[in-house]
């Protein structure tokens, strides 16, 4: 259909290069001052964006600087005296196994974010590829992809992941968890990208590119992907949040790296050793607080990115 269309349309003598069109649609590389003014205006219209960015920036700084300023080796069991309330040596106290809670929180934030980002990057890449292919080419590719996504989306990811993680013998590392989660992380990106491509493929500049003799693959790479880049960013942010949700959930059930101090495993251990009954509030509050901040930060960021990501909203505002 797409190939036939190009030849049936006949040659057009003066076909403007499609790139010229993109520049007016996408974010123009404006003058620096204009960019700042626009960024400010954007933040004023979408206060969730700076708040979310601030929360996540704080967590990245906490995990990044924390690794430099505090010995994270203390996150290993038996590195300190167990059952210690916060004191000078261990500002956040220690748990029942002698891990320093501050080191656990720093290392856990790092590991949890890494797991989420790896899983989401793989998921978004695969999902976008599938979404572009099925949305643009249609036909049986679209049908097959659509059905598979439909079937997989009916079941919450964590239920499938429980079965997979429980069936794998031996130890899981937080890295292999990221790969397991990425096995399902592509479902939503596929659906989201596909629905956008369905709208875009009938737009003028895509027709124009088709008429100028671009192949389907070229159109996707050179026309659709650059235009959808803001949307892909938003899809990625959502995917990171969903991957972290799955990772922490699995780990809280004990399906995680037993010898790595991820945030989810910390939740598991604090329940395993009934930290509440022992009154070890210092063990519970920091990791739980960080996980909550993570989710709220990602939620804020993604709702703040709405205007940036949604091409329709973006055009209305211009």
């Amino acid at each position: 259909m797409t190939e036939g269309h190009a030849s049936a349309g006949g040659p057009l003598p003066e076909c403007p290069r499609p790139e010229a069109h993109i520049v007016t649609l996408g974010t123009t590389p404006a003058h620096e001052r204009r960019f700042q003014a626009r960024l400010l205006g954007y933040c004023r219209r979408n206060p969730a964006f700076p708040i979310g960015l601030g929360i996540l920036g704080f967590l990245v700084a906490f995990a990044g600087l924390g690794r430099l300023l505090w010995p994270v080796e203390l996150a290993q069991p038996l590195s300190s005296t167990p059952y210690m309330a916060p004191n000078v040596e261990n500002p956040f106290g220690t748990d029942t196994q002698g891990r320093d809670v501050l080191a656990v929180t720093i290392a856990g934030t790092w590991l949890t974010m890494r797991t989420g980002i790896i899983a989401a990057a793989l998921g978004t890449a695969l999902g976008s590829a599938l979404g572009f292919a099925s949305g643009y080419f249609g036909g049986w590719v679209d049908n097959v992809v659509n059905w598979i996504v439909d079937v997989l989306l009916t079941v919450p990811a964590i239920l499938i992941l429980v079965v997979i993680a429980a069936s794998i013998p031996g130890q899981l590392s937080s890295l292999s968890m990221a790969f397991i989660i990425s096995l399902l992380a592509w479902r939503r990106p596929t659906r989201q990208v596909r629905s956008q491509v369905l709208v875009m493929r009938n737009m003028g500049y895509v027709d124009m590119a088709r008429l100028s003799g671009m192949s389907g693959f070229e159109i996707i790479v050179r026309e659709l992907v650059p235009n959808l880049l803001p949307y892909l960013v938003a899809v990625f942010v959502l995917a990171v949040s969903a991957s972290i949700l799955a990772a922490v959930g699995l780990q809280a059930m004990g399906l995680g790296p037993q010898n790595e101090p991820t945030l989810g495993m910390t939740v598991y251990w604090m329940m395993y050793y009934s930290a509440f009954l022992q009154g070890m509030w210092w063990w519970i509050v920091p990791p739980v607080f960080v996980i909550i901040l993570l989710f709220v930060g990602f939620y804020m960021l993604s709702s703040g990115l709405d205007e940036f990501a949604n091409p329709r909203l973006r055009q209305d505002r211009r």
């Binding site: 919450p156 429980v162 004990g254 996980i291 709220v296």
Partner: protein, 334 residues
């Protein structure tokens, strides 16, 4: 949703069921793990309380169950047939007990908790979402973002916070369990209160974090409804504010909420399962945790299968019921 939509949903349900069963059958074989051997190793570690007869009986039942002498495709077909009859076999951790018995004991707790909390959150959230549109003031203006932030946090983390503040610091509520350890289950008022008392914190954490889902969807619908001509006309007729809100506003905005229920179902189910784990509530979630800890694969598969089927079934029912509720969407309509 028309007839072909219903048909598609039916085929989807079948495919999901088939896929889940296939995954359960092939995963242990692909990963090379042997559940029975793992269990034996575990028993060896803990000193072992199982007699030799029970052990050999277990291995025999395992062999008989999977018909290990049969070719693999025949094993697979047998397994599918077992799953279709919802026969999950024996628990590995509590050997002579069947998986169904374990699930049967846990199921009433889960259903009770989930249905009650979903109903409360659905009604309260819908009302709040609608009210936020109807009366835009400082209270609704701060309440809505707060509820949405709660909705972004997984249920069980809200649960951990509630345990910490209300259970541990203030000691107003028990921190876990389905009823007091010293009380014997019986059908009287005392026990009922005891159960309700223990359910209040898990229920509160589910309601608190899911109320935003409904409020958000309802707010979107209510904005549309409030701008309709019939609302202007109702005001022109001099109807009371209250009547307009309930009979014209909520009534019209409420029905699409059923669709939201279908979309949020998976989130609600898995959320509630994890809340049960945090509160060691005697439902399916806690059973799942025990099964994962004990490498009790058959119980894990059984629970996942039941949850998957429940989600598929409820979605199907919602799809079927929705056209009956909303005269604007009729079966068979184009």
């Amino acid at each position: 949703m028309n007839l072909s939509g219903i048909l598609k949903r039916l085929v989807l349900t079948g495919l999901v069921f088939f896929g889940a069963a296939t995954l359960n059958f092939f995963l242990p074989r692909l990963s090379g793990g042997d559940p029975i051997a793992e269990r034996l190793a575990q028993l060896g570690d803990s000193g072992g309380t199982m007699s030799a007869e029970a052990l050999s009986a277990m291995i025999a039942s395992y062999n008989e169950r999977f018909g290990l002498d049969l070719p693999i495709w025949e094993q697979y077909l047998n397994y599918l047939w077992d799953m279709m009859r919802l026969d999950f076999g024996y628990s590995i951790a509590y050997f002579p007990t069947r998986v169904w018995t374990l699930i049967g004991q846990a199921l009433p707790w889960t259903i009770g908790l989930m249905v009650t909390t979903t109903l409360i959150a659905f009604l309260a959230g819908s009302f709040l979402g609608a009210f936020a549109v109807w009366r835009r003031n400082a209270v609704t203006g701060t309440l809505m973002p707060l509820m949405m932030v709660f909705a972004a946090v997984p249920f069980y983390l809200v649960g951990l916070l509630l345990i910490f503040f209300l259970g541990y610091q203030l000691r107003w509520f028990p921190t876990g369990g389905g009823f007091s350890p010293l009380v014997l289950p019986s059908w009287d008022l005392d026990f009922a209160f005891n159960v309700l008392y223990h359910a209040s914190l898990p229920a509160a954490s589910i309601v608190l974090s899911s109320i935003g889902i409904w409020a958000l969807a309802m707010r979107g619908m209510m904005v549309t409804v409030a701008g309709q001509d019939y609302m202007t006309f109702a005001r022109a007729r001099g109807l009371s504010d209250r009547r307009m809100f309930f009979s014209y506003g909520i009534r019209n905005a409420m029905l699409p909420q059923v669709t939201t229920l279908g979309l949020a179902l998976g989130q609600v189910v898995t959320g509630a399962i994890l809340v049960e784990i945090v509160f060691s509530y005697p439902g399916l979630g806690n059973l799942l945790l025990q099964a994962v800890r004990g490498a009790d694969h058959f119980t894990v598969y059984g629970i996942v299968m039941i949850l998957v089927l429940t989600i598929c079934f409820v979605t199907l029912v919602l799809d079927l019921v929705y056209p009956l509720l909303d005269p604007r969407v009729r079966l068979g309509a184009p």
